[in-house]
């Protein structure tokens, strides 16, 4: 399994789907581990009733159907499927509405979905997902990107409700961007990073407020990390391979 994860860290991020299905076919007995540990770009479906789109993931799936957070119905229709309790469903509805506004603010569009379900420890788990297509044919306002996607998955385990409740967040961001122009050719960066954050927060502030703040903080950190550390490191590598001419030693006259 460790070797399989090692392979996933080296394969080009653009090909993670191919890499994962290759691993699944080579290691069928580890499929549940692989599926839970490897993240793939998010897929989207349209809700029959409202036409609004929602994101597909393991957390709203049952068999081959997916539950829409807007209508609370499975697509395609399914008998005997699990649903959150009505109390949790209320929270889920509110979460989806707020998160849509949050996404508008940060993502200038994008598709978002929130799913919640009760867990065995008297708490619940919430999954917040965002998918943004920033390409110039998608929702990229500035038109630099030939291709660009940001997929974020935030899973929060909320402990049993006490005065101070425990929230455990695991976030994964997958991103890929390509610019293409005549003078600089194609420039393509892609990657994924995953982080965790645990906090104990007063339940009086409200679950949504607590979870929202954690996600906002985490996304900010991941964005900075991607920008400074990851992109910065690859840029450093390019400069190490071939330093810009100002850095090169002065050319000595031929003797």
């Amino acid at each position: 399994m460790e070797a399989a994860m090692g392979l996933m860290r080296r394969m080009p991020p653009r090909h993670s789907e191919t890499a994962l299905s290759a691993l699944l076919s080579l290691l069928p007995h580890n499929s549940s581990d692989l599926l839970s540990q490897v993240d793939l770009p998010l897929q989207v479906l349209s809700d029959d009733d409202s036409g609004k789109r929602f994101i597909l993931c393991e957390y709203n799936r049952d068999a081959d159907s997916y539950r829409s957070p807007w209508s609370n119905k499975y697509h395609p229709r399914l008998e005997d499927a699990p649903y959150p309790s009505s109390k949790l469903r209320q929270l889920e509805i509110e979460a989806n509405d707020i998160f849509t506004v949050y996404c508008d603010q940060y993502y200038e569009g994008g598709i978002s979905s929130v799913y919640m379900w009760e867990d065995d420890n008297e708490g619940f788990v919430a999954c917040f997902l965002v998918k943004k297509d920033g390409s110039k044919t998608g929702q990229g306002r500035r038109g630099y990107l030939e291709e660009g996607t940001w997929d974020a998955i935030h899973v929060i385990e909320v402990g049993p409700e006490e005065e101070t409740t425990r929230y455990c967040l695991t976030s994964t961001v997958m991103l890929s961007l390509t610019t293409d122009d005549v003078s600089s050719g194609t420039f393509s960066l892609s990657g994924s990073i995953r982080r965790q954050m645990n906090m104990n927060l007063p339940v009086a502030d409200g679950h949504l407020c607590n979870m929202g703040k954690m996600i906002e903080e985490m996304e900010g950190k991941l964005r900075n990390s991607l920008d400074q550390v990851y992109f910065g490191k690859t840029r450093e590598m390019v400069c190490t391979l071939r330093p810009p001419s100002e850095v090169l030693p002065m050319r000595l006259p031929d003797s």
Binding site: A3, H15, I98, R195, C209, G212, E216, R223, K233, L241
Partner: protein, 303 residues
């Protein structure tokens, strides 16, 4: 989930193994090989896949191997390939015999006359190589280069076209820092005798991989063209090398520009650093029930 656990055929496993090997980032194939062997758990299939995948990988990544006997290094490229595992080093006129899977040069022999270009072509090739070596020595801290004749190597004198190719390769491997990178330039030079012109076509490719707590890869490519007059071997060499230097420097500058542009413009299209309001999102309003309307009003968006 499909429950039929049809065992993959050995051939299918081999193809999958090959795919993983071929997609390894520059300089990482041995690490991929190790993990792959563990996942496959079948040495026969692995060996077959490796024997097919390694040569392709080595040539496309232009790996640089040390030749025994103090001859220096040889670049493994398709331009210098004589037979499956024999590669010409034009600089020293030696042929290196290579073990692809182990990625080492096992022995060296002198090249025969048929394997080398004619003296006429060799003058041009050699002059260009000398200029290229100077350039690469200055511009690339750890670069290697070779100039091959890929067309018309039997041309005896003026009146016929021939084609040279100059390849530059540089790599940096820092697995302990979770970072690897490679630079590759391939410059085709068509020496057109009839119109007395040298036509250059360059293909530059840069790759970098950072994998601490994640997996981020850069893949950048660029193509360019230029031309200059067909002159004496030395003058042509100087002209070509200076054009190459010019284009590569320009490309590097535009890569830098792309990186500088990244945080503000390009990245913003994916996710802004902060909302337009320049403040964090007002989650505190979430304790109210009809908060969506409140927030929408506050942020001034019509919902």
């Amino acid at each position: 989930m499909a429950e039929e656990e049809t065992e993959l055929s050995d051939n299918q496993k081999k193809e999958i193994a090959k795919w993983f090997l071929l997609n390894a980032p520059a300089g990482e194939i041995q690490y991929v090989a190790k993990d792959l062997k563990s996942v496959l758990n079948n040495d026969d299939v692995y060996d077959e896949a490796a024997s097919e995948a390694f040569p392709v990988y080595n040539k496309s990544h232009m790996i640089c191997l040390e030749m025994p006997g103090r001859f220096g290094d040889v670049l493994v490229t398709s331009y210098g390939e004589l037979q499956g595992n024999e590669y010409l080093d034009p600089k020293t006129a030696q042929v290196a015999i290579v073990d692809h899977v182990k990625q080492v040069c096992t022995e060296v022999r002198p090249a025969s006359d048929e394997e080398l270009p004619t003296p006429y072509v060799e003058e041009y090739r050699c002059a260009l190589e000398a200029e290229m070596l100077k350039y690469v020595g200055e511009a690339y801290p750890k670069g290697s280069c070779s100039v091959y004749c890929i067309n018309g190597k039997d041309v005896e004198g003026p009146g016929y076209d021939f084609e040279l190719v100059a390849v530059i390769f540089a790599a940096r491997l820092s697995p302990q820092n979770f970072c690897t990178g490679s630079w590759q330039s391939i410059w085709n030079i068509e020496c057109k005798d009839d119109i007395q012109v040298l036509e250059l076509k360059g293909k530059l490719q840069v790759g970098a991989h950072y994998f601490e707590e994640g997996n981020v890869q850069l893949d950048a490519k660029h193509e360019c063209r230029d031309s200059t007059m067909f002159q004496s071997p030395d003058d042509s060499a100087i002209a070509i090398a200076s054009l190459i230097r010019h284009h590569e420097t320009e490309y590097l500058a535009s890569l830098e520009a792309s990186y500088l542009n990244l945080p503000d413009a390009t990245f913003k299209d994916l996710r802004r650093k902060l909302p337009v309001t320049r403040t964090l999102f007002p989650w505190h309003s979430t304790s109210l029930f009809s908060l969506t309307r409140e927030i929408s009003k506050e942020l001034g968006i019509g919902k």
